[in-house]
Symmetry: C2
Subunit: 332 residues, 2 copies
DNA sequence: CTGTTAGCGCCTTCAT
DNA sequence: ATGAAGGCGCTAACAG
C-alpha cells in the first residue's frame, strides 16, 4: 500500500482511507482520490488479507461445521447456497466435517475460533434438535436445519408444516377419489423434527378440504422398509388412492411395492413425497416432491450470520417449493 | 506469546522456538522448555494464525475450486475426503464453486490467491479435459478428476481402465451364458474421459476371458435415454445375458426397461454398473456397481498438494472399489 | 543456548 | 483534508 501512496504522492493513511471507501466521510479531495485509485490500478494493488486480519481481527471468512455430510446432495446444495451468499458479502467459506464425532467437532470449533472466522454455521443433515458445543454458544453462530432449545440460538429450517400442506394441495389438485395414507414413521426418534410437523400440515390441510387422513403406514424413512410396509399393506387387501411419502427414498420403495402388485402410478395410486432429490426426477413416472430448499437454507444462514443488524435470536422457516412430476392423477 | 515468555522468564524468541517444536535443533535447555510449555498451558495460549500468516505468508489453508457441484454426492464425498486429509495435515479447506462460469471461477481463484492459500485443488464433476485458468498455472495446484494436457499439472483420477476390467470380472464371476452388451455412449463428447477408458478395460478383460463384447447400446448417460435405448433394443427382439451400464442412472433406466419387458434381474439378465452411488443400493435387486472413490480422490489430492517432496508433475490413478449388490446371477 | 532487533502490511488515534 | 507514529502477534537474522 505504501507503494501506492508514494506513487500517488500521498501518505499511507490517505491511501488507506480511499482504498477502503471512506474518502467521503474523510472528505478527501476528489483529485487526490483519483490519483490514489489510479496508482492502485497501475500497480495492481491487492490488499493483504492477513495483515488486515491481524489488525482488525476479522477474516471475511465463515465456518461451516456439519455432522455427517457424506453421500447425499445435502452438503453440496447447502454449500452451494452458502458459498454464493458468502461471495456476495465478500466472504469465503471454510468447512469442517465432524463425522458425528463430538471430539472432532470440538477440535474443528477450536480451530475455526482460533482462526477468527467471522461466524459459524452449525449444520445437521437431518432436521433435529441438537446441543451446541459449549464454546460456540458465545460466538456468532446460526444453526442450519436444527434447533437448540436450551440456548435460543438463531436457526434456519425448512417450513415443514407448510410443506405438509403443500403436499396435500398437490394431491388434491388431482383426481384422488379414495383414501389417502401417509408412508413413513412420525416418531421423533433419532431426533428428526420434520415428521411430526409434516404430518400436522398434512392433517390440517386434509381436514380443511373436508377429508381425512386414512392412516399412517409406519416405517423408517428408507427404501426397503417402505417397500415392506406398503407391500404388506397391499397384501392384506389394503387400498389407497393417494399416498404421501415422507421422503423420496420412501417413495421409491413405495413405487417398487406398487409395481409388484401391478398397480400403476398415477392411474391407480397418486403419490407425492418430500425431498425433491434427484431421485424424484429419475423415477417413472417422475415424482411430485416437496423439495427441501438446501441451497436457500445455506444462503439464508450466511446472510443471517453476517447481518450486522443484530436482530436477536430468531428462527427462520424457509418455504419448501414443489418439484412437480406426474405421479398425481390429473383431474379430468 | 510475550505473556507466555514473560511468565516463563524467557524472551519471545525462545518461546517461539519452543512453541514451534524447534527446541531440538536450537538445543534449548529442557528445563527452559518445560517452563515455557507450562506457561503456555497455564495461560491457555493459542497462537494467532493471522499474525503467523502475515509473517510467513502461509495460511495452513487449501482452496478447492470446482465447477458444478450441486446435487450429487460428488462434492460431499470429495470434500469429506479432502477435509479429513487436510485435518491430518493441520490445514483447513476453503471452498469456491464456479458454477461452470469462467468469470466467477477467475474471481474465486484471485480471491484465494489473495488470501495466500497454500495450494489449490481444481476439481470437476465429470472426468474431463480442462483448460486451467491462467493464474493457477504458476501456483501449487492439483487437478481432481480432470487433466490439462497443455500444462502437465499433477492430477488425480479414478482408474477407469481397471474399473472397466473390474466390472467384467464381477459379471464373469457369475453365470452369464449369453451375450454381453454395454449401455451408454462412448463419445468423449462433453469431454468425459471415463467412457473410452472403461470400454477399453471392458473389451480387454472380455477378450482375455475368451469372450467378446456383443455390442454397445449407445445413449447419453441418464435415466430416460437408457430406458429408451434398452426398451428399443428389446422391442426389436434384442437379447442379452449381461449388461454393463456406464453409470448408475443408466442402470436405473435399464432396470425400468427390463421390468417393462417382464425381464427379471438377475435371473434373466445380469447387470453391473459404474458410480457406486446411493442409488445402486436402493434398487431392487441391489446393483453391483464399480464405485468412483470420491473421498479417496479428495484425500489424495490434498496429500499431493501438501506433499513437500515436490515430486514433479504426475498423474495418480485411484482404484475403483466394487459396491457389490445382487444384480449378477450367481454361478451355480 | 538465549536475547535484541526489525519488520511482515495494514489500520487508526492524534496532530496539524 | 492529510500526515506521523504506533502497534496488531509472530518469526528470523544476527549477536553474543
Amino acid at each position: 500500500m505504501s507503494d501506492v501512496a508514494r506513487r500517488a504522492g500521498v501518505s499511507a493513511t490517505t491511501a488507506s482511507y480511499i482504498l477502503n471507501g471512506r474518502s467521503a466521510q474523510m472528505r478527501i479531495a476528489p483529485a487526490t482520490q483519483d490519483r490514489v485509485l489510479k496508482a492502485a490500478a497501475d500497480l495492481r494493488y491487492r490488499p493483504n488479507p492477513s495483515a488486515r486480519s491481524l489488525r482488525t481481527s476479522t477474516t471475511r471468512t465463515v465456518g461451516v461445521i456439519s455432522d455427517l455430510v457424506a453421500g447425499g446432495s445435502f452438503a453440496s446444495q447447502m454449500l452451494t447456497g452458502a458459498s454464493a451468499a458468502a461471495r456476495m458479502l465478500a466472504h469465503l467459506i471454510v468447512i469442517g466435517e465432524s463425522q458425528g464425532d463430538p471430539q472432532l467437532e470440538a477440535l474443528l470449533v477450536e480451530e475455526m475460533l482460533d482462526r477468527h472466522v467471522d461466524g459459524i454455521i452449525y449444520a445437521t443433515l437431518a432436521t433435529s434438535e441438537v446441543s451446541v458445543p459449549r464454546p460456540l454458544r458465545q460466538q456468532r453462530v446460526v444453526l442450519l436445519n436444527c434447533v437448540d432449545r436450551a440456548t435460543q440460538l438463531p436457526a434456519v429450517l425448512p417450513d415443514e408444516y407448510e410443506g405438509g400442506r403443500t403436499a396435500v394441495a398437490e394431491l388434491l389438485a388431482g383426481e384422488v377419489p379414495g383414501e389417502i395414507h401417509v408412508v413413513g414413521e412420525m416418531s421423533s426418534e433419532g431426533g428428526s423434527l420434520a415428521g411430526p410437523l409434516r404430518l400436522d400440515g398434512i392433517r390440517d390441510a386434509l381436514r380443511e378440504a373436508g377429508r381425512d387422513l386414512a392412516g399412517v403406514l409406519s416405517c423408517p424413512w428408507d427404501v426397503a422398509p417402505a417397500f415392506d410396509v406398503v407391500d404388506g399393506f397391499l397384501r392384506d387387501g389394503g387400498r389407497a388412492a393417494g399416498l404421501v411419502c415422507l421422503n423420496d427414498r420412501v417413495a421409491l420403495g413405495t413405487f417398487q411395492a406398487l409395481a409388484e402388485h401391478g398397480l400403476v402410478v398415477p392411474d391407480d395410486v397418486s403419490v407425492v413425497s418430500f425431498d425433491g432429490s434427484e431421485l424424484a426426477g429419475w423415477l417413472r413416472p417422475r415424482l411430485t416432491s416437496v423439495a427441501i430448499p438446501y441451497a436457500d437454507l445455506g444462503a439464508r444462514a450466511v446472510e443471517m450470520l453476517l447481518d450486522t443488524k443484530e436482530q436477536g435470536p430468531s428462527v427462520v422457516r424457509v418455504p419448501m417449493p414443489v418439484a412437480r412430476g406426474t405421479s398425481v392423477l390429473r383431474a379430468r
